[in-house]
């Protein structure tokens, strides 16, 4: 370990008053014999400038700055090619512990030890080798308004683009509309969709290569290196860098809505059918082709109904208002009735709603449509209850239009994979109780097989995992484009029900993310949430036992397997969470700057007092994005907690390797607290399943505790939000009480 290491200890913010800095410095100089150890009066601009300059002048390769939290620094301004780490003496020592106290001093010294060991164990990060070969072509799947927009935007930014459309024509649903709802001020008049012009633009754009009547045979590789094979008349193979999936929607099929008479009465149609009629010239009764003068629109036909389509499709209210305008335009005697539950015209669309309300030929009322009956002349009578007038009404109609919702054209990659696995299991001839489980599974979700769209060659399934209701959307409010497959971004109605304007915005952003992804990959960086991180996991495969935990647990489908089950890394798919590192029982997965050995060495660097000193030690492994900042806030608020804890931030709780827990207990730590993000349906883990996976690894931990004859209570996992700082002193306090009850770890000093 010949690297030149420097330590800078900041004495500002009360650190100098609360700690014996000289003694602290001697940890660096005497115990670790670092090359440079200096004190600075603060970590504000003047002092930081000095540190940065000194790092360069002293020719340091690694530096430790002990002062404020690592979250304090604008690290973008630090010298490149120097490994700099921060020891949190401010928020997590002097601001939350009594000054000039033996235990406070020990805490500070341990943190400094851990910081120095950390930089000793870190290696300079180099971009993954494939970053030199990144292809920057953008592929867009789906040729509707979202797909065309994505292709045009990517091309306009200078990127070669491939546009794949399953049907023979471009334009999707937008091309089937007579008019669009109002999108420009004063938001009152129907507008041309403009889709023909867009189609012309994309067809004549030299940067866009279009394949119609074409589907995807397979996509191998990963972002920047996707090898795509198409099937269809234009079958071809080529490489692309990132993908925008804009596969759109299909109308909800209003099955089991018997009371509405669909497919029973000729003149009950869907909003999609009405649009087609309007576009082709005339809104007429299906039964006899006569002009439809009285048209009743039934909103939420199947939507917002747990028995059918649970969600709201967002645009059906506006669409019916638009179609009411068609009815009124066709004939001055035309009358449109819109029966709704809640009329949803968000934002500027309120103007259009108001405009239509003013039309005497348009009747709007809240109400429940309880029955549609057919009369002798094939006209219809619609019975409505709970209307705004407080009474039940009956409306006669030439046509009843069911405002049916939007169903995403997606494929659930995880379910498809599950079905395939189940079938493979049955084919293997293996018996046992699993046979029935697998059979049931195939029965339940077998219908997903054959729905493939992207046909990704991914261990974890051929398409994006979906969220609720089949939408392959992001679960993240702050990062709405983050799907669980790196470099593949969804746009338009496939990811959420949305209007044309929303689809255009969505597709523009998705195309940007695709471009951003290939650019970052070409610099060796990953995308959100660890955007800019150039470290990547390396696998020492000679020692792999093919246990498949890493390939199973990666939330991003990074790893494929060879026939034996050995992981096949795809660094461009990786988001650097370290969950594979946490999963690996052989400890053969490591990053240059985040390794099993690095954290284990930090744990070993802690000085654990003998049992008779009655100073327990508790290791806290905390999610660096949420739990760790919450600790900082505890300090900022000057709340106090036990000085016997030692906090190590981890990339994700899922990156915690059980060996760290085992080794800390073997070393004499009295307990381990694992603090991660909320899991479950509303999970907050930005690596999807990190804290949940750690929880499931608890079985391994308990097994180890049993072997060591230690109590289960010594290891606990808590879910904590970044904002819930006030819980931290309580969690720690209660845990210390538990430790007191179960007693000190008998392995101390062994």
């Amino acid at each position: 370990m010949a690297s030149k290491i420097g330590v800078y200890i900041c004495t500002g913010y009360g650190i100098g008053e609360a700690l014996n800095v000289e003694q602290l410095s001697s940890v660096a100089t005497k115990e670790y014999k670092v090359d440079v150890c200096k004190t600075v009066s603060s970590c504000e601009a003047d002092d930081l400038d000095f540190i940065k300059k000194d790092i360069t002048e002293q020719g340091l390769e690694r530096a430790v700055i002990a002062g404020p939290s690592p979250r304090f620094y604008a690290t973008g301004s630090f010298p490149e090619n120097v490994i700099v780490e921060f020891v949190n003496l401010r928020e997590q020592v002097v601001w939350c512990q009594p000054a000039n106290n033996e235990d406070t001093q020990m805490l500070a010294e341990d943190y400094l030890r851990m910081g120095i060991v950390k930089v000793q164990k870190m290696q300079p990060v180099e971009a993954f080798p494939e970053s030199k070969d990144i292809d920057k072509t953008i592929m867009v799947v789906g040729g509707g308004i979202a797909g065309i927009t994505a292709a045009l935007e990517a091309a306009a930014t200078g990127y070669n683009t491939v546009l794949i459309e399953k049907s023979a024509q471009l334009g999707g649903w937008m091309a089937k509309l007579k008019k669009s709802i109002p999108r420009t001020p004063p938001y009152e008049a129907l507008e041309d969709t403009g889709i023909e012009e867009k189609i012309k633009q994309v067809q004549s754009n030299p940067k866009v290569k279009i394949f119609t009547s074409t589907e995807i045979e397979t996509i191998k590789g990963g972002p920047g290196l996707f090898d795509v094979t198409l099937k269809g008349p234009g079958a071809a193979s080529f490489r692309v860098g990132a993908i925008v999936q804009a596969t759109g929607w299909k109308p909800f099929e209003p099955k089991n809505l018997d009371h509405l008479g669909f497919r029973k009465f000729a003149n009950v149609i869907t909003n999609v059918e009405l649009e087609e009629m309007a576009k082709n010239g005339r809104i007429a009764r299906k039964s006899d082709g006569k002009d439809a003068k009285r048209v009743v629109f039934v909103q939420c036909a199947g939507s917002r109904d747990k028995a059918h389509l649970s969600y709201c499709s967002s645009i059906c209210c506006l669409n019916s208002l638009k179609q009411a305008a068609y009815v009124r335009e066709q004939s001055s005697e035309g009358k449109a009735y819109i029966i709704y539950d809640n009329l949803r015209a968000p934002g500027h669309y309120e103007y259009f709603y108001k405009k239509m309300q003013q039309d005497p030929g348009v009747f709007l009322t809240k109400g429940d449509v309880v029955r549609v009956a057919e009369n002798a002349d094939k006209s219809l009578t619609v019975d409505v209850e709970k209307t705004l007038l407080g009474e039940n009404i009956s409306v006669d109609a030439d046509l009843v239009v069911l405002a049916v919702g939007m169903v995403p054209c997606s494929a659930d990659g995880e379910k498809i994979r599950t079905v395939k696995d189940a079938k493979a299991f049955l084919a293997s001839g293996e018996g046992g109780p699993q046979v029935d489980v697998m059979k049931k599974r195939i029965e339940d979700i077998g219908q997903h097989e054959g729905t493939e769209i992207l046909n990704l060659d991914y261990r974890q399934g051929p398409d994006l995992p979906t969220l609720q209701y089949g939408f392959p959307d992001s679960h993240f409010i702050c990062f709405p484009y983050e799907t669980r497959r790196t470099g593949i971004y969804t746009a338009g109605a496939v990811r959420a029900p949305m209007d044309g304007l929303g689809s255009v915005e969505d597709a523009t952003g998705a195309a940007f993310k695709a471009i951003q992804c290939v650019e970052m990959l070409s610099r060796g960086e990953t995308v959100l949430p660890r955007a800019g991180d150039r470290s990547y996991p390396e696998f020492f495969l000679q020692r792999c036992t093919q246990c498949k935990r890493c390939t199973e647990e990666c939330p991003f489908g990074t790893l494929n397997e060879d026939v034996k089950g050995t992981p096949l890394p795809n660094p461009t798919r990786c988001r650097r969470c370290g969950i594979c590192l946490g999963a690996c029982p052989e400890r053969i997965i490591n990053f240059k700057n985040y390794s099993v050995d690095m954290i284990a060495s930090m744990i070993k660097a802690v000085e654990v007092p003998d049992e008779d000193e009655e100073k327990p030690r508790v290791l806290v492994l905390a999610c660096e994005n949420d739990a760790y900042p919450a600790f900082d806030t505890v300090g900022l608020k000057r709340l106090q907690y036990s000085p016997f804890i030692r906090v190590i931030p981890v990339r994700c709780l899922g990156s915690v390797n059980v060996i760290w827990i085992n080794e800390s207990l073997a070393k004499g730590f009295d307990g381990v607290l694992l603090l991660g993000c909320k899991y479950g349906d509303d999970y907050q883990c930005h690596f999807i399943r990190g804290s949940e996976l750690m929880n499931t690894r608890g079985d391994n931990v308990r097994e180890k505790l049993k072997q060591m004859a230690l109590e289960n209570e010594r290891v606990q996992l808590h879910q904590i939000q970044v904002s819930e700082y006030e819980k931290i002193p309580t969690i720690i306090g209660e845990f210390m009480e538990t430790i007191e009850q179960v007693g000190m770890n008998p392995f101390k000093g062994m």
Binding site: Y187, R304, L343, K366, T508, P529, K637, H686, V722, S723
Partner: protein, 418 residues
Amino acid sequence: MSANGKILVIGGGISGISAAADAAELGCEVVLVEKEPYLGGRVIRMNQYFPKLCPPTCGMEINVRRIRQNPRIKVYTLSEVEKISGQAGDYTVTIRVNPRYVTGKQPVTQAHLDAVATEVPNTFNYGMDKTKALFLPHDAAYPPLYVLKKDALTSEESQRLKNASPGGAIDLDMKDERIEVKVGAVIIATGWRPYDAVRLDNLGFGRCVNVITNVMMERLAALSGPTAGKLLRPSDGKEPAKVAFVQCAGSRDENHLPYCSAVCCMGSLKQARYVREKVADSKVTIFYIDIRTIGRFEKFYYDLLEDPNISFIKGKVAKITEDPVTRNPIVEAEEVIPGKKLSEQFDMVVLATGIVPSIMDSPIAGVNLTCDSDGFLVDSPNGGGIFGAGCVKRPLDVSRSVKDATAAVMKAIQIVRR
């Protein structure tokens, strides 16, 4: 390539931050200008986001890290864009940096804090509490710097501060500064402000002490807020057991905001959950015209419908007065179904005030922005290299603002790479 590859982002809320980080991660140089002393805009003052009820600070932690670590982003807080001249691909921007009086060269110490006793209204908490005139704007403020309200200081305090700052931690002589930067494209992400509830004369805000707005409610529910996350009503600091939400307070109203603000329904449903979770056995009534829980948000609504302590009343609130003794707000409303008048006392009333674009509050010299009749920015094809992002264009929730910001970056990149 245009003359200048840099992008200016005006506004450091969720849209501006997202745009700045996205552009910089692509490889562009970015100048981010924010008029408040911290980044985070409106969202950092929210307690939780719908529909997941997750804290905004979680995503902000990631976004601030994206900014902290990226040398391509230059952040100016307490700053405003005064003037933009030039054309797409080649703009000259004048930024006014207002004095913070805290230099960031040396730390603010206990001696500084002890030197100041004067308190000022805490604008972060919408004035519901006070803070020292030398303060950190909020717990996770970025940049992590104090701010000094110099005008509020007594002369003794000023002197004490001077004495405590031999190293220049605080500089009372700081003046506003003009900086000129050249950029190729501009993203305007100046966001929104809540509609001024005082103008809703009939709804009693400002007259009835226990009538508050939805943005105030976010602070009352937040652990970092004026009541440390305890839901307490203003008049007597007691937990309100019976709370009413008044939807469309100003929105969808010709006399105020003719448009729908798009987020207030989900906002109030979320806040109804705050009440139900924080106050045992509490009862909530929501007065609405239409509940607009679009898309997947519907689930949030129907989950609430199952709570017997939450009632939904379709009807417009006509008037709110106050019981002079209990200070309870009295809500008079027209219940549409079954069509009757209603008068009911509550412990507290929350007005769901809407979104007003704030771009017109401080016009930028030199640019002719096209706005619609409500003041929302309209991206025009002849707008050159200036693009809107987020609520400056239309009322949007957080996710849609972020998506819109990303889309705006795409447009800006096309200009700077031209």
